[in-house]
Subunit: 375 residues, 2 copies
């Protein structure tokens, strides 16, 4: 698995380098309680013909809720429910694309992803692959996509991943877990309706929110930051604090966390994550730990590196009675532990962002093992 | 002059209304010290042929600086220097469009505006009018533009107006001062290079920065706000405070004010300005006072409405030794004063945003006159 490449292009934009990424932003966004009901109107001008459907990819948890009934299904539009229990896969994207091509004579007018990071990433990938030949795994990397994606819209139903604004879709391929990073990946439209995050279970809400919080702590204390990303990251962090430690009412809390995720996602334009993400990747590789909880598992033990951030995190965790699993690394074989450490240390830019160019002098395989064994 | 219409569509998005604007964002942004030198590379793929030029509209103050030499002029590209001493006019847009059509056989590949709000607004308007028939004044209003603008990029050289992210270009027409508000108005590309704001004179820097500050104070205390705009407005306000009252070095200060302007501009998506803007519009109509300084002239006397904001403003003004002109309204005839008051009171949504639905009970022609006479 080529984890190193996954972050290799998020190189510092300051100091020696005078080149800055020309960042693609989501060109259209609507925000508001209940704005989901504007979806039909938003999609109407995007419909090419009555034979070119809109395909809705929706998190399976909504299958028996009132949400599907509110989806503006017209003509031969199709709703496909997809489980978000596992990470999205290139093979899954290929199957979806094949299914859509077999089922319809015309290419869809658009793909709409409704759900968390997994559904949003699938919607991005499917919309790309409907216009590009071959398997999705051929496009994992940077700027390998030759043709624009078909129109795609993202509608988050849980807040924190920032997938709604990013230019990547991270997929598990046959050989590697790696994003399709391209200017065509970014959504054409995002719809932010805080009411859609109403029924999220507390633990999921916490882990996904912490994805944003930990991202902010890591990027704001990192060496890759510039004023653009700093301003977004600071605002996202401030809103996370309000949401997880403040006295907001539930409606305000949903709204603020949705905006925190948005700003946190924007802050990645010119920033990089750090140690928690590097080590969480190791966990994910060896144990299949999901991204949000993996970050939490690692971050709680990083007080030496992010003292204030970890203190805040522990406060938030206590405040919301979150119990993290324990001793999950104690069962690992020596070989597995070694793999985990190697995967983590392979993510060089994250370590460099966190500890500076001489990061290798400040961290050792032994010190990583020590942290992992606490998890 | 139809000032009322100019803001009529910025109606509250909360409360009774369940409809939210689907806001067009700038789809591509690059930020960084020195990123101006990436302009050539950014424009290259936008060039349709060697006969379809890029037209650069540049603030005349740069005519004898090193900037024009850094502009990536290729083939038959043209630089046009334009004075920003006066507000941009529909007639000026028409002349520019006619000149470009006469001068070149093909439509330009793109228009690049380099300067403050005036130059950015001109670039937006010219790019629209090159693809739409008739005079620019026919398009003043909301969503009257039928065809997409040609590619246009904005490069601010002074921070605070937010014109770099807005979907309007405010023009003085034969009958009214009113924006061309449309989804085609928004720039296709923005380049944010804080170094370009280096030589701005202190008073201009202050007035334009206060455009952002006052906007934030008005929108954050207004009734039209939602969580999306609030998050942007709060960040912009915080950065204004850092810039005008903090201890930043000049480089940080330039970077933060550029980002404050950006976030302040984004915050207009779902917010509205207030009393200072309403009254400043009156000044502008009768006396030709420019927007930035006009806001300052009014705002200093609005302590009764924005106590904390005005206190901060006075601190900033003292800190930077800004002397505002005095007694500029004392010379007005009774008729002129009446016009000024009528123009200001005509901006109903601004008053409603500031004082609520019963704003008419809280403000009178007499109270406005009293404030104007202090200016």
């Amino acid at each position: 698995m080529d984890v190193k490449k996954n972050i290799a292009l998020n190189k510092p934009n300051t100091g020696t380098s005078n080149r800055f990424k020309n960042f693609p932003m989501v060109p259209r966004v609507v925000f508001g309680k209940g704005c989901f009901d504007q979806l039909g109107e938003i999609l109407l001008p995007k419909r090419k013909s009555s034979d070119a459907p809109i395909i809705y990819l929706i998190d399976q948890v909504f299958e028996n809720s009132s949400l599907p009934g509110r989806v503006p299904v017209l003509f031969n539009d199709k709703i496909i429910f997809i489980s978000a229990d596992e990470e999205p896969k290139t093979q899954q994207v290929d199957s979806l694309v094949q299914f859509i091509k077999d089922e319809f004579e015309e290419l869809p007018s658009g793909i709409v992803g409704i759900g968390g990071g997994t559904l949003l990433d699938l919607a991005k990938a499917v919309s790309i692959m409907l216009n590009n030949n071959g398997s999705a795994h051929n496009y994992q990397g940077w700027d390998l996509v030759g043709k624009p994606a078909i129109y795609h819209a993202g509608i988050p139903t849980i807040s924190g991943t920032g997938a709604e604004v990013s230019r990547t879709t991270v997929l598990l391929g046959p050989h590697k877990k790696l994003g399709i990073n391209s200017d065509f990946t970014t959504f054409d439209q995002v719809l932010l309706d805080p009411d859609l995050t109403k029924g999220v279970p507390t633990d999921q809400w916490f882990y996904t929110g912490m994805d944003c919080f930990i991202h902010c702590i890591e990027s704001l204390s990192g060496s890759y930051l510039n004023a653009f990303s700093q301003s977004y990251g600071e605002k996202a962090l401030e809103m996370c604090k309000e949401v997880f430690l403040g006295e907001l009412n539930p409606e305000e809390s949903r709204e603020k966390l949705m905006m925190a995720s948005w700003h946190g996602g924007m802050s990645i334009a010119y920033s990089q994550v750090g140690i928690a993400h590097a080590m969480s990747y190791g966990l994910s590789y060896v144990l299949g730990t999901k991204h949000g909880i993996g970050n939490c598992l690692v971050f709680q033990h990083l007080g030496a590196y992010y003292p204030e951030g970890v203190e805040l995190f522990m406060k938030m965790k206590r405040r919301h009675n979150i119990e993290l699993p324990k001793n999950i690394c104690s069962v690992l074989s020596e070989e597995e532990m070694n793999t985990m450490i190697s995967v983590s240390l392979g993510m060089e830019p994250l370590w460099e962002n966190a500890l500076g160019p001489s990061w290798r002098d400040q961290i050792s395989r032994e010190s990583l093992k020590e942290i992992y064994l606490k998890i």
